[in-house]
Structure formats: C-alpha cells, structure tokens
C-alpha cells in the first residue's frame, strides 16, 4: 500500500508539474484581466497554439527518441507553398473547389511525409547528427520556398479553402479540434503501443536498444516522418487560415515554439522520457503567456524574453528534480 502510494506520488509529480504550472498561470491571468476567462478568449488561445501545437506532437517523438528537428518552421513554409500551388493548379484546371481543397490537403500531407522521411534518412542512413541534418534542411526548405514565391506570397484562388480556415463546428475552431484529436491518437501510440515503447527505449540508450533486437534506425526514422506528417497538417491549416502562404513569414520561429512546448511539458531533452499530453499543456502554456502579456499591455517585443525565461526555467526545474 505504502509502496503504491510512493509510486503514485513519484509519477504524479512528473506528470502533473506542467498542469500545475498552467493552472497557476491561468489563475494569475484571470486575476490580472477579467477578459481572460471569457470563452471567446480561451478559444482564441487554443486556436493560436494549435498550429505549433500539432508540430510539437511530432517533435515529442523526435526528442524522446534522442533527436531534434530544427527544420519544422521552414518545412511548414515549403509544404504550405506546395499545397497552395496544388490548390490553384487544380482550380485553374476547372475542377470543383472541393477537389482542389482535397488536392491541397493531400499534397501537404504527402510533401510533409516526404520531407520528414528525408530528414530521417539523413539522420539514420547518413549517420549525421540530427542537429546538423535539420539545420541544413531548415536553410534548404526556406530557400526553396523563397525561390518558388520570389520571396513573396502564394494566394489561394479558392474561397472554400479560406472559409475552412475559420470554420468552427460547435464553436470550436477546426485547428483546435485537430490538435486534440491528434494528441489523443498519438498519446495512445506513445504510451500503449510497441512503437511508443521502442521510441523511449532508443532515446533512453540506443546501444541497449540495439542489443535488445530493436531496429533503432527504423524507430528514429519513424519519429522524423511523424513530425513531417504533423508539419504537413499544420501547414495546410495555416494556409487555410490566411488563405495564402507567405514564403518569408510562415513558420518563422515555429521550431522554437515546438521545442519549447515539448520541454515545458516535461519531456527530457536527453531523450527517453516524456508525455504527449504534457506537450499539449506546454503549448497551451506558451499561448496563455502571450495572451496575458497582450492583455496587460506589455510590448510584443518583450514576449520573446518571457518565452526564453520560461524555457530556461522549465529545464532548470527539471534538473533540480533529478
């Protein structure tokens, strides 16, 4: 009995530290501004964090497996550009709007998968450090998008595409629904499936995993591919939101926000440990911080400072706990 209790205390503290921090932050925000707890404001925060939140779900797999992906922001711009190009090409061909939107979504998903797969192959088969691979592809994806758009933006010719971006069935924005749906699915994969277990094993000690007959390369490859898929989904959602893709603006600092959400959510940067729901909480925490700073009228230029301090603070607290 006492052993069970001790176990619960240990786990709960790990798992709920991020929840507790978010709760405290929310209470402070509610005290600072009466608008914070309004339904519309809360939905707005959720929508704002969805785009990077979806990416951070994939990033959790990559970081837990012992890697990092810096290319997600540039990849979102590249994949988003391709999606809008596909949308316009199908529309110009005189096909139905629905077909064009489906083509854009399919294009984003497939291009995202392909980009993630490329990152993964370079890391596993090319035996290059993830930091270097994704630093390289970060420059590459951004440059390709800038070149394709001549540093400008791709505008969608479809009105349906843009309408979907602001759709909110049952009052909840589409991106937020997708974030929560994907989080539920990936949390299951992470905690309950063979692949989730292998991801933690590989990040915990790749040598032990190899000696335990686990295919380390395939496991890592899958993590980067899942991240690519998440970037594809996120990119098409952002493109819908603006009904366009800015080749120089879309996805800027997304890698920072995605990694920050993972870390604030309690995942160990060293790999081997983490949770998907923690990452969702981390993403929402970042959104609440931005929202609070806006409401109390702090310069938007200082938001990066606060974000930076929160990231460092989160890691510092993790260290203390160990």
């Amino acid at each position: 009995m006492s052993a069970t209790l001790a176990f619960l205390q240990r786990v709960e503290k790990e798992r709920y530290a991020a929840f507790a921090a978010l709760a405290i932050l929310s209470i402070v925000s509610a005290l600072l501004s009466p608008f914070f707890l309004q339904w519309q404001n809360l939905l707005n925060i959720l929508r704002q964090v969805s785009y990077t939140g979806i990416i951070s779900l994939g990033m959790t797999f990559v970081i837990v497996s012992g890697g990092i992906d810096l290319s997600v922001g540039s990849m979102a711009a590249f994949v988003g550009s391709l999606a809008v190009l596909a949308l316009n090409a199908v529309s110009d061909a005189g096909l139905a709007q629905e077909t064009a939107v489906a083509a854009a979504i399919a294009c984003a998903v497939l291009a995202g998968l392909a980009c993630g797969l490329a990152n993964g192959l370079l890391v596993t088969k090319g035996r290059i450090a993830p930091f270097i691979v994704t630093l390289g592809t970060m420059a590459l994806f951004r440059s390709l998008s800038l070149y394709m758009a001549n540093a400008g933006e791709f505008r969608s010719v479809s009105s349906l595409f843009g309408e979907l971006g602001s759709a909110a069935p049952l009052g909840i924005p589409v991106p937020a629904l997708i974030l929560l749906g994907l989080a539920a699915a990936l949390a299951f994969v992470f905690a309950r499936t063979k692949y989730g277990r292998y991801t933690r094993a590989v990040g915990s000690n790749a040598r032990v995993a190899r000696y335990s007959a686990i295919n380390v390369d395939t496991t890592r490859l899958a993590a980067y591919t899942v991240t690519g898929l998440m970037v594809g989904i996120s990119a098409v959602l952002i493109a819908m939101r603006f009904n366009s893709v800015g080749s120089s603006t879309l996805g800027i600092n997304y890698e920072l926000d995605a990694i920050a959400a993972v870390i604030i959510g309690g995942t160990s940067m060293a790999g081997g440990r983490g949770t998907i729901w923690g990452t969702v909480v981390g993403a929402i925490t970042l959104g609440v911080i931005n929202n609070m700073l806006n409401m109390v009228g702090i310069s938007p230029y200082l938001q990066g400072t606060v974000k930076g301090l929160v990231i460092i603070g989160a890691v510092f607290i993790q260290r203390q706990r160990q």
Binding site: A3, T4, F7, R192, T193, K194, Y195, R197, Y198, R200, A201, S204, N205, R207, V208, A209, R210, Y211, S212, A213, I214, N215, G272, R273
Partner: protein, 501 residues
C-alpha cells in the same frame, strides 16, 4: 610513528532516514593493505565515498594522524593525501595519459602557464615505476582496460598520497596484470603507504591484504588479520550464513548438437572460429581480455559483421541483426550491463519484455500490459528479485537485482542457445550462487549455454568443456578432468605452464 594513519570513529551515514552505515569504527594503519569486503549494499561504497570526500557523514568523525579532519570535496581529500582508484574509470577519452593524470590539478609555470615538461616527466616516472607499457602522450581511448586502470593508479599517486583506496581494481584485469598490480601494491606498502582494497574476489583479498574488515548491512561485523581468516569464512561473515558449495554439480551433456559454428571470422577481432554446442551443455569460453570472445558472441548475435557459417538446429542461423538472431533462437547476456544490457530509467517489467515485446501484443501493435505484468511477476518470483514494485526504475535496484532483470530479459524470448558474457560481474556472493544455480537448471532443461568469463574459477566451476581463445583464435579445447587453471592459462597466454607458475 605511533597510532594509525587514519581513524574513523562511529561513522554513520543515512539517506532519507535509512542508515546505510551504522556507527563503524575503523583504523587504517601505515604500511598495511586493509581488505574491505561485504555484499552489494553492505555500505562499502558509502564508506569509501566518505573517506574520499564525496559524501559527508551524518555523524561520526574522521581523524588523520590524530587530528580531526573533514573533507568538503574529493579534491580536498586528495590534497590531504587520500586518493581513490574508482571501479568505473573516470578518464577523459580524448585527452592524453599525462593530461588525465594531472586533470584538475595541473602543474603550472608562473602561476598560469601549463608546465608540460614537468607533468610529462612525472607521468613517465610513475608509469615506469608501475612497469606500464604506456607513454605519457598516448590518448586514453587507444588504451586497453588494464592500461586505463594503471592510468587511474598513476592519477591517484601523482600527488603524495598517504592513503590509497582501490575499488574492485581487478575486475578488468588478466591474471598477469593482477600479479603486476599486486607487486606494485606491495612496493607502495613497503614505502609506508596505507592501502584499502575493496573486492568481491576473496582469494585475492587473502593473497594481498594484511587485515580484513567485513561490512554487513552497514555494520562492521568482523575484523581479523588475514592469516586468521580463510575465504570461506569471509564469505560466511558477509552473508551471515554458511555458503556451501557455490557451484552446482557439473554434468556431461550427451544431447544432440544444437549450434554449429564453422569458420566464423571478423577482420580485426577474431578469425576462423569453429565449434559446436550440445543441448544441455555449458560450454566455457576462456581467454584474456581482448582475446575476441565478446566479439565472437556479438557476431553470432548479428551485432557485428562477420563471415562464416552458423547453423542452429540444422538450419542456417547467420544473423545480420539482433532481431534475426533472436528469432532463430539465440540469446545474449551482455558483459556491459549498464551500457548495453538494461535501461536504467525503465521499469522492471518494461525491461524484461524489451526483446520479446512482440509476444505481448493485442491487435498486433498495442502492448498488453496485463500479460506483461503477469510474466514479469513470474520472473521476479523465479529469480527472487528484491523490489517492491514492477514499475520501479532499474536505477533503484542493486547490481545483483539488475543483473537478474537483465537475465530475465534475455531469457524471455526462450532462446535455445544462450550466451552469457561475464554473468556475475559486479555481483555479490549470494547473487552469484543464485545465478550459477539458475544457469545450471536451465542447462538441465535442455538449453545450450555458452559461458564467457574472465574468472577462471567460474569457468572451472561451471563448465565440463572449455574452449580457450587467444588473439582472436581458438587455441585449444579442454574437457572433463583436463579443465584446470594451469592448462587454461597455458593456452590463454601461449606461455609454458612452468614459466607462468
């Protein structure tokens, strides 16, 4: 010089209210090797860590030459003349021998410039004194385990140490290297230095120590001049009960050949290795460190590229990766438990099913945690693993219990041929005996076992047939009464038995 060099009075250390060292009184004298023995968890490491300034005692005092003393840090202890040679090497792999010897205590010119000439000269002098075949400029990662050990000793001796603590210094060494270390220890002793020798190898304690103290559950239970205590009694004091025969009786295997290896080679590691193992047999692989035994095992498991033929139960079993090897019925318990055996952050159950996870699936991809937990529970009972909770991370377990988990993990897929590499390294006497008994039972039920070990005693105690490797080749096979220490050493070293004796 009167009185002991070092005196420890009523030394006590508690972690979260749990006492791991209970009011121990110890004297350490000049010109003496003091043996410190005890099971894992008896408080040996805690005792050493307090002496070397890593831990602060909860209560009790330390006296150096009659003066009370307290160490704030290991470097504090080192300045006072207390040095430790740790069990796990603590060397920077990319630096040279000389840079490592003086790491953190570099000799300086004008107070800021490295005095490389003086450091090099001092290192060369120390290395020569130990008869080490190492140059001060050599990089650490190019050295063998034995050479690294000597560098650690150099590091401990670089500043005039008056007390030298050696923690399990012989686990990685061969017989001849051990003899050389012992000669070095005797010469240090003759100079009036005090040495503390911590080891599980009781025969070595008997050979090198002058006096022995035994710790059990944090208490000092026995202190005796080594002349008055035999290894058997040391073991009895450590576990508090009589250890009868530590090795189960040997059996001659008559079952059919299950594994057949022909001309297995891996360039740079071993060449033309051929042998067979029978069902129910325990085949020994003896040899010096670096003879190619572990590399051979890794090749059989598909962890290292190799050429040659491997047949298991008549079918081709040449594996390209560990997964193939496991599917074909091979299992491997690695010599490096922490580095390639277990995941210290994972729970007991998760570790046990790491290799065989595919057998615990519902719908093909979801882990059936109930089934997993039930299986882990049977393993825990079978091995007597001491842990409150199957989800407890392995880092909270003792070395012996970790090894049992590692063994359970290797056995869970049900291998027909099990290779165990140094199965009792860093494990206490009681756990050792349990592991031997378990391996013997396993063989009795028909599993073919290959035992790789640097401990000759273990090979001789467990195996009816022994292959000896030297420099990557099988140089001899001994069977039945021919399995003798002298014969094995003769083959392993390639020297005449008389010259070696």
């Amino acid at each position: 010089m009167t009185g002991p060099l070092f005196r420890v009075r009523r030394l006590r250390k508690e972690f979260a209210g749990h006492a791991v060292l209970r009011d121990a009184d110890v004297e350490i004298r000049r010109g003496e090797v003091l043996g410190l023995i005890g099971e894992n968890g008896a408080g040996k490491s805690t005792f050493m860590k307090i002496l070397s300034g890593i831990y602060e005692p909860t209560s009790g005092t330390l006296e150096l030459e009659g003066q009370p003393i307290a160490f704030d840090s290991p470097s504090d202890a080192r300045r006072a003349g207390v040095s430790i040679v740790p069990q796990e090497f603590n060397l920077a792999a990319d630096l040279s021998v000389e840079e490592n010897v003086f790491l953190g205590a570099e000799l300086l010119k004008f107070g800021w410039l490295l005095d490389r000439a003086r450091m090099r000269a001092r290192t060369a002098e120390l290395l020569a004194e130990m008869g080490a075949n190492v140059s001060p400029e050599d990089r650490i990662d190019g050295l063998s385990a034995a050479q690294k050990q000597l560098v650690e000793v150099c590091k401990a001796l670089a500043f005039d140490a008056s007390l030298l603590i050696l923690d399990e210094p012989t686990t990685m060494l061969t017989r001849r290297e051990i003899d050389r270390l012992f000669a070095l220890m005797r010469s240090l002793k003759a100079r009036g230095m005090a040495l503390v020798y911590v080891s599980h190898k009781l025969a070595e304690v008997k050979a090198i120590c002058d006096r022995v103290i035994v710790l059990k559950d944090g208490e000092l239970v026995r202190e005796a001049p080594v002349a008055e205590i035999e290894p058997a009694e040391m073991a009895r004091c450590m576990v508090g009960r009589e250890l009868r025969e530590i090795y189960p009786p040997k059996r001659k295997a008559t079952g059919p050949v299950v594994l057949e290896v022909r001309g297995l080679s891996s360039p740079g590691a071993f060449a033309d290795v051929s042998f067979t193992v029978r069902e129910g047999e325990i085949l020994g692989f003896a040899g010096l460190v670096g003879a190619g035994r572990t590399e051979t095992a890794e090749s059989l498991m598909g962890l290292r590229p190799s050429s040659g033929a491997v047949r298991l139960g008549g079918e081709d079993a040449k594996a390209k990766n560990a997964d193939q090897a496991v599917r074909r019925g091979l299992g491997y318990l690695s010599e490096d438990r922490q580095g390639s055996g277990i995941l210290t952050g994972f729970g007991i159950a998760e570790n046990m099913t790491l290799i065989s996870l595919r057998d615990y699936m519902s719908f093909g991809f979801v882990v059936d945690r109930e089934k997993e937990g039930a299986k882990a529970q049977t393993w825990r009972q079978r091995f007597g693993i001491k842990a409150g909770d199957l989800n407890a991370p392995l880092e909270s377990l003792s070395g012996g219990n970790q090894q049992k988990v590692s063994l359970a993990k290797t056995l869970d897929p049900g291998p027909r041929v099990l290779i165990v590499d140094e199965p009792t390294r860093g494990v206490d006497v009681a756990a050792k005996q349990e592991i031997y008994r378990f391996l013997s039972d396993l063989a009795a039920k028909g599993t073919a076992l290959i035992l790789l070990s640097s401990e000759l005693e273990e090979i001789i105690g467990m195996c009816d047939r022994v292959l000896v490797m030297r420099e990557g080749r099988i140089v001899g096979e001994l069977e039945g009464d021919a399995v003798q220490e002298r014969e094995i050493m003769y083959l392993a070293t390639g020297l005449q038995a008389s010259a070696n004796a």
